[in-house]
Amino acid sequence: MKNLTDDKKLFYFYTILVLLILSVAVFAPELAPYNPFDANMKESLTAPSTAHWFGTDKLGRDCLTRILYGTQTSLMMTIFLVALITVVGTLVGVLAGYFGGRMDMLLMRFADMMLAFPGIVLAIAIAGMMGGSVANTILALAVVSWTKYARLGRSLTLKIRECDYIAAAITCGTRPGQMLWTHIVPNILPTVVVTAAMDIGTMIMEIASLSFLGFGAQPPTPEWGLMLNEGRQVIQTAPWVMLFPGLAILVVVAVFNLWGDSLRDVMDSQRAN
């Protein structure tokens, strides 16, 4: 019993942190001291000071402002991406698991095929072919990431399908659509949601790495991976340009990972009870 409350406390704490980050994203325009695109070239690469807490970048733009706006870019991309792969992947998995047979074969062999490629390399290839942009990054990462949810959804569905209440529902004449919607999906949802929550941190990293490599967001978008790459060129003479976006990624990814973990702990102990 004690264990449960501890887990919950921690979960609330991380949730508050997550909400804080989300509110930074939402209120970036109010919080930011400058405009993220306003280049004041006369002040390029100035060191952190009271006027520019995190210094300025190569075009004299305020780094703090760009990092705040970057929260918006990164989180929006990530949330959209995670939502997309969760919905698509789970749907495919549930269909394959419930109907079995040929459909299962077809969908899962296709998923296996996608899994045969090294994820980030395939994403680079896709983004490279389609040209770098925010939309293409999401698409590229979605193409390589949905399979995990498909496998998860399938195996959970297979487990539930053997339950007596499903057999009962079938006997009562429940139609497949209704069956999926009222009996299968609600029962697998908790596990899927926990997996998705734990994936947010990874996805932030992957989006940032594609941008870092030049396949994601394009200048002048304030995006952490891209800022990191810009800072790399002046790492010895103006380290702050690279340091602060790096820290932003570190903090946000850590918070989301811890939050995902604690969400799982809460769910697990609730189920155990």
Partner: protein, 522 residues
């Protein structure tokens, strides 16, 4: 338990990061090796075939290939494999006296016959050769090479100093793959192995011009400017070609590094495609006038570039000071020009539009030269102030040439040498003379001005130095008045070398990097 694990792993991660950072801190200066020279460069060549693309430059830069003539520190043409040359009174026949006692790296003697075969090979394999000059006949008589041209060619020795015309032993081609194993030439070093990322050269035992100091020259291609600087700092390489503006400050310690920098013959320019929205002269003029080129060069590039204005840089005497830039920085004028051209912001998104189309242009850049993306992004930010949306497209260097020829751009920035033949005629001609059915492939922009073409025709057979100069000044003024391109700036180029070696010199022509003059300090 899990929590504790989490915290522990975070602490470990931070510790690892710290260890990694401190590990990078202390750079160890390796003692220079007296048998091996290591040179950090940017290589664009896929093969060592000198007639393919511009790969001849690499063959020459790496110390393999040599031409009949070369350019000195002041871009004067000097004898090299040719001892001397003369021109007939009717200006149609050039006679080159080939140096005696020169041998190819396989031991074969360099004869006028071999030179003839090599030049003919260049013409057979490269379309670009004919853009320099056209000949009726090349003949070898003893050690004399006689070239009869179609029309008078005032700058022939300069043309033959271009790396496209470096002399190879065509007789050796049948059992030696020039593209993969490197051509058989006369330079101090011979290719031992070559891949795009790294070339290894060994000493040419038959070299004609004195002792070759190194047994081995390793030339890694380090395309990222920052990585190149770090390789030099760590002692991984002995010299680096072109340290970026932002990093040059790291090498100020004269006890450890020698910086050889010169104002180059290069210009950073953006070609402007006239088939798109920038075909409207007013939009073009507005675009150029919105670029605050003074700030780009003096502040962003820390004065390592000179503010751009005209096609030919001020390092050459082609009227830089007297040329007038009609589109110097003026935001108000730029805005007015766009209004006159009918562009307005009707939907209030900050980007001008006309007939429902936003004023948006594609700006193509490549990243292996650090200044190019910087110019492009600075320009993008300035254009936004007058309501033009600039989309930057970063592509690989190898695509640039093709994109330029096909006109796949609105703007395409590149760093171009303006005088690869000793004077800027070819440069001006290539990029701005009218391209009729592909006879001037480098002008893929659709730009055409009959008055300019007439000047080019006049220039091509003018022998008088001063008249040539005046013609080229007039040509530049027409290009500037038409807003045919944006001239961003003129770079200084540099070779930074460790003080453990001596003789590493940057020449204005940018063709001679590895030479037999580079030696270890004893």
């Amino acid at each position: 338990m899990k929590k504790r694990k989490n915290i522990l792993s975070m602490v470990l991660a931070v510790g690892l990061a710290m260890a990694f950072l401190t590990g990078c801190g202390g750079s160890i200066q390796k003692t220079a090796d007296s048998t091996t020279l290591r040179v950090g460069v940017t290589n664009f060549a896929d093969t060592l075939e000198p007639t393919e693309n511009y790969f001849g430059w690499v063959v020459m830069r790496y110390g393999m290939g040599e031409c009949l003539a070369k350019f000195d520190e002041k871009m004067n043409v000097q004898p090299w494999l040719a001892e001397s040359w003369t021109i007939s009174d009717d200006h149609m026949i050039w006679t080159f006296k080939i140096r005696d006692g020169v041998k190819f790296s396989n031991g074969d003697a360099l004869t006028a016959e071999a030179v003839k075969a090599s030049l003919e090979r260049a013409f057979a394999k490269s379309k670009r050769a004919a853009t320099f000059f056209k000949y009726n006949e090349i003949r070898a008589e003893g050690q004399s090479l006689i070239i009869k041209t179609e029309k008078p060619e005032p700058n022939m020795p300069g043309f033959l100093a271009d790396p496209l015309f470096l002399i190879v032993d065509t007789a050796a081609e049948k059992d030696h793959n020039f593209a993969k194993e490197g051509p058989i030439c006369t330079g101090p070093y011979v290719c031992k192995s070559f891949v795009k990322d790294k070339a290894v050269m060994i000493r040419n035992e038959y070299y004609w011009d004195g002792q070759v100091p190194y047994q081995l020259v390793e030339i890694p291609s380090i395309d990222d400017p920052n990585t190149r600087a770090m390789a030099l700092q760590s002692g991984e390489i002995d010299m680096a070609v072109n340290i970026a503006a932002g990093d040059i400050g790291l090498f100020q310690n004269a006890d450890k590094y020698h910086i050889d920098k010169i104002s180059s013959l290069r210009t950073v320019l953006a070609r402007i495609n006239q088939n798109g929205v920038l075909g409207d002269p007013k939009v073009r003029a507005a675009f150029i006038a919105a670029c605050d080129r003074k700030t780009y060069n003096e502040v962003l590039l820390k004065g390592t570039f000179i503010e751009g204005k005209a096609p030919v840089p001020p390092s050459m005497d082609y009227g830089f000071d007297q040329l007038k830039d009609p589109n110097s920085y003026n935001l108000e004028r730029a805005k007015q020009l766009l209004a006159e051209a009918g562009w307005q912001d009707t939907d209030g998104d900050g980007i001008l539009d006309k007939d429902g189309k936003p004023l948006s242009v594609d700006f193509v850049v490549y990243n292996s030269r650090a200044e190019l993306p910087l110019y492009a992004e600075a320009c993008q930010s300035d254009e936004k102030k007058i309501g033009i949306d600039v989309k930057i497209k970063a592509v690989d260097y190898n695509l640039i040439d093709k994109m330029g020829i096909n006109g796949d751009y609105d703007l395409l920035i590149s760093n171009i040498t303006t005088a690869n033949t000793g004077d800027p005629e070819i440069f001006l001609n290539w990029y701005w003379r009218t391209n009729k059915n592909g006879d001037n492939p480098q002008n893929g922009s659709g730009y055409s001005n009959p008055a300019l073409d007439a000047k080019f025709a006049e220039l091509s057979s003018e022998f008088d130095r001063e008249k040539r100069r005046q013609l080229m000044i007039a040509i530049q003024q027409i290009i500037m008045d038409d807003g045919a391109a944006i001239f961003f700036g003129y770079p200084e180029t540099n070779i930074v070398s460790s003080t453990a070696i001596t003789g590493a010199t940057m020449y204005p022509s940018d063709y001679y990097w590895v030479t037999s003059k580079i030696k270890p300090v004893r």
